[in-house]
Amino acid sequence: MDPTIDQLRHLIADKLDVNIGYDEIGADVPLLEEGLKLDSLAFVKLITLIEESFGFEFAEGDLNVEVFASVRRLAELVDSRAKAAAA
């Protein structure tokens, strides 16, 4: 299991207060409608939590449906952004 995917699943399950269990968050399940259905408030909190936990800021172009189509896709972006920020 990719550590970033794992960490993101934990963020959603433990830090978001949306009553979704770790096991319910499949790596390929969409985060918004059609999948986990995170509401607007939870979603915004997730963005902030990710930025704080991984030490980078999302670029405006990152905030689109493709990136958040699944935890796996999101993890790919998070990995590349975090690496660039640490460099």
Partner: protein, 485 residues
């Protein structure tokens, strides 16, 4: 001005093809709008919904929903408007509505030509009480404190007057591009943005249950110049906006509950175009700042009253003063609005309390005047009392009791002291001429009107009239002093 005249004008003109209303899935130009409205009118007639029938509409921010509202305005049908009941608490259709109309969300697979009627459903209301209602009214829900919701009554004509105020204050025009991320089934979305936009012929982007990704994506394509949002939306965009936006002529947020820090931070992300608007379901838009106003004013005050609107601060009773206060410069914000509501009705269509409402409306907000005359909201008036764990508003109890045929006037006050059960409350009543009841009998009638926790502990019939202050208002303090704590 009549709605059909105003709307007819916006649908004419060479540019009517290029000005559109969209919901992200379907779009319709103003040039094609009359056709869509005609289709809805035919549908309504086929369903047996004539102009004099009152309907209950459950609406979402979709093109079909928008056109349904406009069709009802055009016909002069009275209607109750609520957001879709899908995830909200299910409330039964008001009994004075003969039909229930629902606007369904489009399937994501839907494409092709927009046909509004395919997204509408009509049913007869099995609990219709046969009541005939006056034409051209709009009914909006507001929650009462005693657990029984009430419906705010507006006339279509005054709603358009309210909208005209917003047009002049915020500069809506045919060149405007308005994004609406708040429900058009509530007074704010409907009265402050949707109607003004339609009356101006502005392009409109309707968003149902927006989220950050949806908003950002639509913003890129639609390039809005006006938006009416909420503090929650401002917070959301503060996280998503990585660069300041310069496309907004005005970015309106409702309510004074937006924290000053959030206001200042977000204002810089919309190039200084953030303004506060003050209003309510009863009043519509009452006051608001302009983008040109100084940041200090925009961040803390409610702004200038809308055209024709008067505001004043009524003195609070001394028991509401904090330590060290003199009560000067602070009071309950009251509003006299030429285009405000007519009154409240219940689920049966009966007036609650005195109707029609005239004159000054008590907002329940406490305000303070600044040295330049501008008003800052500092809190809510202490009209709520704890009754066995329920928060009850004394004026709600008064309004209910005013319905009793035997009473001509009633004042409800609370004892200053709170015990384990909450606060003791007492009602002081003036009987109508020819009525002959005592306090116990009136109190017994209250059990049919109010939840048990809201029934006053004591009811007194006052024969010599209620004590008055020099201002002519009832001296509630002296009445409260009579209540055993």
């Amino acid at each position: 001005m009549v709605f059909s005249e105003i709307f007819g004008r916006t649908c004419d003109g060479d540019d009517a093809r290029s000005r559109i209303i969209t919901d992200g899935q379907f779009s319709c130009s103003y040039a094609d709008a009359p056709t869509a409205l005609k289709q809805i009118e035919i549908f309504l007639t086929e369903q047996g919904i004539d102009r004099d029938v009152c309907v209950a509409v459950e609406c979402i921010n979709s093109l079909a929903g928008a056109f349904l509202i406009l069709a009802l305005f055009q016909r002069g049908n009275s209607f109750v408007l609520t957001p879709s009941s899908q995830d909200a608490e299910l409330k039964p259709t008001p009994h004075f509505c003969r039909h229930r109309l629902r606007v369904l969300p489009a399937e994501s697979a839907d494409s092709g030509k927009f046909s509004p009627v395919t997204h509408l459903r009509s049913e007869r209301n099995m609990l219709f009480n046969g009541r005939s209602t006056p034409p051209s009214k709009l009914y909006l829900r507001t929650s009462g404190s005693i657990g029984i919701s009430k419906l705010v009554v507006h006339s279509h004509e005054k709603l358009l007057g309210n909208a005209a105020n917003c047009i002049s204050r915020y500069g809506f025009s045919a060149a405007s591009r308005a994004v609406i991320p708040v429900p058009i089934a509530h007074m704010y979305g409907l009265g402050a943005e949707f109607l003004p936009a339609v009356m101006s012929g502005a392009s409109i982007d309707l968003q149902e249950k927006t989220n950050l990704l949806k908003y950002l994506s639509r913003e890129k394509h639609f390039r809005p110049t006006i938006v009416f949002a909420t503090p929650a939306i401002c917070e959301m965009l503060l996280v998503g906006y990585k660069t300041p936006r310069s496309n907004y002529h005005v970015f309106v947020t409702s309510g004074q509950r937006i924290g000053e820090n959030l206001f200042r931070n977000f204002d810089s992300m919309v190039s200084g175009r953030l303004v506060n608007q003050y209003g309510s379901t009863e009043l519509g838009a009452a006051a608001g700042c302009l983008p040109g106003d100084a940041l200090e004013l925009r961040a803390t005050t409610i702004g200038a009253p809308m055209p024709g609107v008067q505001l004043r601060l009524d003195p609070l009773p001394a028991e509401d003063w904090l330590d060290g206060e003199t009560g000067i410069g602070k009071g309950e914000l009251c509003c006299d609005h030429p285009c405000g509501f007519e009154g409240y009705v219940d689920e049966d269509g009966e007036w609650i309390g005195k109707a029609p409402h005239t004159g000054w409306y008590r907002t329940g907000d406490v305000g303070m005047t600044q040295s330049d005359g501008s008003i800052v909201i500092v809190g809510r008036a202490a009209a709520g009392v704890n009754r066995r764990g329920y928060l009850v508003s004394l004026s709600d109890i008064e309004r209910r009791m005013e319905k009793l045929p035997a009473l001509s006037e009633v004042v409800v006050v609370a004892a200053a002291v709170e015990n384990k059960q909450g606060q003791r409350i007492a009602a002081f009543c003036v009987l109508r001429q020819g009525s002959d009841l005592d306090g116990t009998q009136v109190r017994r009638q209250c059990f049919d009107l109010l939840p048990h926790y809201a029934v006053p502990d004591e009811v007194h019939v006052v024969t010599a009239g209620l004590p008055l202050l020099p201002s002519g208002k009832v001296d509630r303090r002296s009445l409260a002093a009579l209540v055993d704590g």
